[in-house]
């Protein structure tokens, strides 16, 4: 199979990249492992502050629907239930749909495989009923199945707070959000008020001792300075944070760098989001986890860069568009996650050399100043 642009991952980043490339006449193929497009947005019923302007009022699955509609007219080859599984000697990507394995020859590849959740280990955390926060969210919002009736959340990112709200909404008793540290650090402190209003306890300075149960979690033992406490639950949600999924990048032999703030190991890339492997681009959470806006905007940026390199837009037009997207990203992130923005620029600098992002006209100066 041959295509101009091969996009791995049909989440918001992949779709944003698909829009930019397909709408400019390129032949685009999306490979998506699940049976649907939209990625992790599909189970998100909340709306987000840190979004590009035109998405602000919408909640996750609506944005996904929006994006899918937006790319529909351009005749993209969408291969759902298809997974990248390896590489051929000549550099072609190996794709499989469980019945067959075949090579895809592409002029450019955009990898937008998203992020994975990190587990939180403690004694007996492998008991059935203990799951990641994302898994619980998928069950209630996408599959419409309740994982249980009473739960506790371990870890306190804004995602845990969002999820606690959603669990409460569907009638699950949330017995607390457990945090080992003495502080809760959120981009949006309103969430804390909302959770307190729902009478969900926020348990700071609290450690998990162990889980108990016969063949299924029944009790979670936690400990604070007031001593140990046994909480009666029938499922537990773990929020250990997220990090970029690296498999596709390792397959393509892309170099990586470690950036704690971006989520751990992240593929190296330049201002065009091209990785160290020529013709292989990156988008979305795979570029580092900073804000929601970055997911869409990095998708658009990689898409524009691919169009430019395949001669679909000239370089003046391309750099104008790229500057707009970068500017928008800066506008959002300076409010919600300046640390993430700076870390991303440092990441690019680490790969491209000092001050390599100066070309972002006004924007570059804003960071350094």
């Amino acid at each position: 199979m041959e295509t101009d642009v091969l996009i791995i991952g049909g989440g918001p980043a992949g779709l944003s990249a698909a829009y930019e490339t397909a709408s400019r006449g390129l032949n685009v193929t999306i490979i998506e492992e699940t049976w649907y497009l939209g990625g992790q947005l599909v189970q998100q019923t909340q709306s987000f502050e840190d979004m590009p302007n035109h998405y602000r009022q919408l909640c996750g699955f609506e944005i996904a629907e929006n994006l899918i509609k937006k790319v529909e007219p351009f005749g993209i080859h969408v291969l759902t239930d298809h997974t990248l599984i390896g590489l051929y000697e000549n550099g072609e990507m190996g794709i499989s749909n469980d019945r067959d394995v075949f090579p895809v020859k592409a002029s450019k590849i955009i990898m937008a495989t998203g992020a994975a959740e990190i587990a939180v280990p403690f004694p007996k955390w492998t008991l059935p009923g203990i799951m990641t926060a994302g898994a619980a969210q998928i069950l209630i919002n996408r599959d419409r199945v309740l994982p249980g009736t009473k739960t506790i959340l371990i870890g306190s990112s804004s995602f845990a707070f969002e999820l606690a709200k959603q669990l409460h909404e569907v009638g699950i008793e949330v017995k607390g959000i457990v945090e080992q540290q003495s502080d809760i650090v959120l981009q949006n402190n309103c969430l804390i008020d909302e959770i307190e209003k729902l009478n969900i306890p926020i348990l700071k300075n609290t450690k998990v001792i162990e889980a108990e149960g016969k063949g299924q979690v029944e009790t979670l033992v936690i400990e604070s300075n007031q001593g140990p406490q046994r909480i009666d639950v029938d499922f537990v949600c773990l929020d250990g944070g997220r990090n970029p999924i690296l498999e596709a990048f390792l397959i393509a032999n892309c170099s990586l760098s470690y950036r704690k703030i971006l989520g751990g190991w992240v593929p190296d890339y330049d201002l065009n989001f091209e990785t160290s492997s020529e013709g292989v681009y990156v988008a979305g959470n795979s570029t580092g986890i900073t804000s929601k806006a970055a997911i869409f905007l990095t998708g658009s940026l990689s898409g524009i860069s691919v169009c430019e390199s395949l001669g679909k837009i000239n370089s003046t037009e391309a750099s104008q568009m790229k500057n707009l997207f970068w500017e928008e990203l800066y506008q959002v992130e300076q409010q919600v996650n300046l640390e993430g923005w700076n870390s991303r620029l440092k990441h690019i600098e680490g790969y491209m050399g000092p001050n390599s992002h100066q070309s972002l006209s006004g924007i570059g100066r804003k960071i350094n100043g």
Partner: protein, 366 residues
Amino acid sequence: MTKVNTSYETIIVGGGVIGNSIAFHLSERDQEGILVIDKNFPLSGTSGSTQAWVWVHNKTPASYAEFSMYSAELYPYLSRKIGDVEYKRTGGLSPFFTEKDLEKAHKLAQKYSELGIKIKVLNKEEVLAKEPSLSPDVVGATFSKVDGNINPFRLVDLLIRASKKQGVAYSYYNRVLDIERTENAFIVHTQKETYLCKKLILAGGAWSKELGSYLGIHVPVKQVRGQIMVTEPLAPLLNYTISGMRQAINGEVLIGYSMEEVGFDRRGTLDVIQETANMAIRYVPSLANANVVRCFSGIRAMPKDGYPIIGHVPGVQNLYVAAMHSGITLAPLIGTLMTELILDGETSIPIDDYSITRFQEPVGQL
């Protein structure tokens, strides 16, 4: 980095199965001052990415098969000394699918019998009786009782533990960067330290060429990649070690091996994995339904003519080399013979055929 001069009687460069077998056997008899240096952690080289058959038959010339057989015979004793390396003498079957190979097999059996190595040539019915899961397309097979396999991870781990008990020192993540010769010693420069030693053994596997070059010695070893496919644990399926696949104790089947000259690139490629899948089904049709959970690849240290390079390096006092393919099969014997050579000056089984001198290239330049 602080540079300290530490002295050892013997330094072994390379902590794979070969370096460690030498360390173990040598320290059994002479516990003074042995250091093993590895640039990574043991098993990061070829010994950690191998099929790990202890394989004798089908090797040619017959004298090389005989040499391998002696090593296989040593495994039960080695196990008794260092612990359970999961050595299984399953017997080895080499199936073939053409009449031409049948002829070849008979000739091979004849050659072997002259040296007292017993292999049987089985016809189709006999093969299928022994190994019913093989394809009915099989024409025949050669069979040898001494063939089997081991767990290479346990083998190296247990060799190290036993050697440590016998006083061997280890230094990991410490690459040898250069080696100098003085009149009666070697100065080994590494990432972490500079060492002095009287005797030096190069057991650097696929990196032997580089190690030799520090001393101006040409060790003609090239790199040959091999990719292997591993299934999920399956119910008992194979009774024997088949030349092409084996079933490990936990039920996983390790399938295939390729020969690719791509330098040190250890990535896997689908071209080879798909070919390996074809081979799996051709040999054992019921494997079609098995899931592959991972593939791995390793870089063989392949001497120019395929045969081991072992022994003393002529012209350089107290310098020894041990680089080979089939190092898993040969490890117990190599450890034993190198120890004899170093401590007694001669070996109980001749190793002249495997001397580095056979390459007729300028060796020691001092």
